[in-house]
């Protein structure tokens, strides 16, 4: 019984990517059910082995139960959806109102992002935390890139010290998130991909540094606003839909909208954005691959 049940419950838990406490509770309920059914069948005269086999069969596919359980627990409330979309809407508001060049406004948004990310992390990582975490991680990555532009080789020395630290923090948070669900990792990384796609559309290397990139960014403000609103809409859909495949669709659609926005703003000359878009789509495809692997 123990071996059969353990194998069954392991399959169930491996297929169910939700909060660990809820998952363990659901597995314990299924185990109690198996114990009751097995005991009853044994009392009817069956061997323990046979009773256990029938009990497991009567429960049905652990993957199917996990899928239905996922649909129950993976849907966040409207409150969760609004909290999740809020950081994207704040960035959109910064660009729409031209306040993205105002240090005080940007600082307030950054402070709010840090506060929300830390608050959510300490409160057991509720579903709305992941977009906030994405913005929280962005300065860590951007600082590493900016360090490389320091003069006379100092950049490389600073980067050599900073980048391993930044990578450690980044990988640690992504791993922690992916352990719960790969889709949450994609949700978290989405704002980073949008931001880098827009920056890369302004040109690479010297071209970027020698042009007035801030003015060019402002010229495209309306399209940037559209991008972040698309991301906010995708996030709301992700939180509210129950089925996993629709969650994946809600993650994949915003990058396509963003590509169109970048194309529309640059007249077709999007430099490195193609590469970033392909990379971002690959990142979004990882959850699909991981899920397919889990179901094998």
């Amino acid at each position: 019984m123990v071996n059969h049940a353990s194998h069954y419950l392991n399959r169930f838990k491996a297929s169910l990517r939700i909060d660990q406490t809820i998952r363990d509770g659901a597995a314990a309920e299924l185990y109690a059910h198996l114990e009751d059914k097995t005991r009853e069948l044994e009392e009817e005269g069956l061997s323990r082995e046979e009773a256990s086999r029938i009990a497991i069969k009567s429960l049905g596919s652990p993957e199917l139960i996990a899928e239905q359980m996922y649909e129950t627990h993976a849907q966040g409330s409207w409150k969760d959806a609004i909290f999740s979309a809020l950081p994207h809407l704040l960035v959109a508001a910064l660009f729409a109102s031209y306040y993205w060049r105002n240090v005080a406004c940007v600082s307030i948004v950054l402070a709010l992002t840090v506060a929300m990310a830390i608050y959510g992390w300490q409160r057991g990582k509720p579903i709305w935390i992941f977009p906030w975490l994405g913005y929280y991680l962005m300065p860590v990555v951007v600082s590493a890139i900016l360090l490389l532009s320091l003069p006379q080789g100092w950049g490389w020395i600073a980067a050599l010290i900073y980048i391993p630290l930044a990578l450690f923090v980044f990988i640690h948070i992504v791993r922690q998130t992916a352990r719960r669900d790969w889709l949450y990792a994609s949700l978290m990384l989405a704002p980073m991909i949008v931001t880098f796609t827009w920056f890369s559309s302004l040109g690479g290397g010297n071209q970027f540094l020698t042009t007035d990139w801030a003015a060019r960014l402002q010229t495209n403000a309306i399209w940037i606003v559209v991008s972040f609103i698309a991301l906010a809409a995708g996030t709301v859909a992700f939180i509210r839909v129950r089925q996993r495949r629709y969650k994946i669709v809600s993650l994949v659609v915003p990058p396509l909208v963003i590509l169109l926005a970048v194309l529309a703003s640059s007249g077709g000359h999007i430099a490195w954005s193609w590469l970033l878009l392909i990379l971002s789509l690959c990142a979004f495809a990882v959850p699909l691959w991981m899920q397919a692997k889990a179901y094998q």
Partner: protein, 111 residues
Amino acid sequence: MNYERELLKGNTDSLLLCLISHQPTYGYQIVKELEKRSNGYFQFKEGTLYPALHRLEKDNLITGKWQILPNGQQRRYYYITERGQQVLARKLATWQDFSTAVKSVIQPETT
């Protein structure tokens, strides 16, 4: 899709709420009770009951509490909430009306 299965799916919430409203109960007992009261009519993969129970709990219609039995076994008992009782009353009233209407159509009273 199987018609009986669709009917059961559409009425799962009412059946579960009704059973739980009679007395606090746990998953396996619900399966047994459903089978007994329906004379074996309601048969389904037993594991699919648990997502339905969790959905009702998430909607705040029932609440689950772990209890330890004298033999050390743990079971999660479900209790109906006040909101659950209100929803059940509404669902039962709707079902009665629907059932009466269907009967009137398929078995019209002869005058």
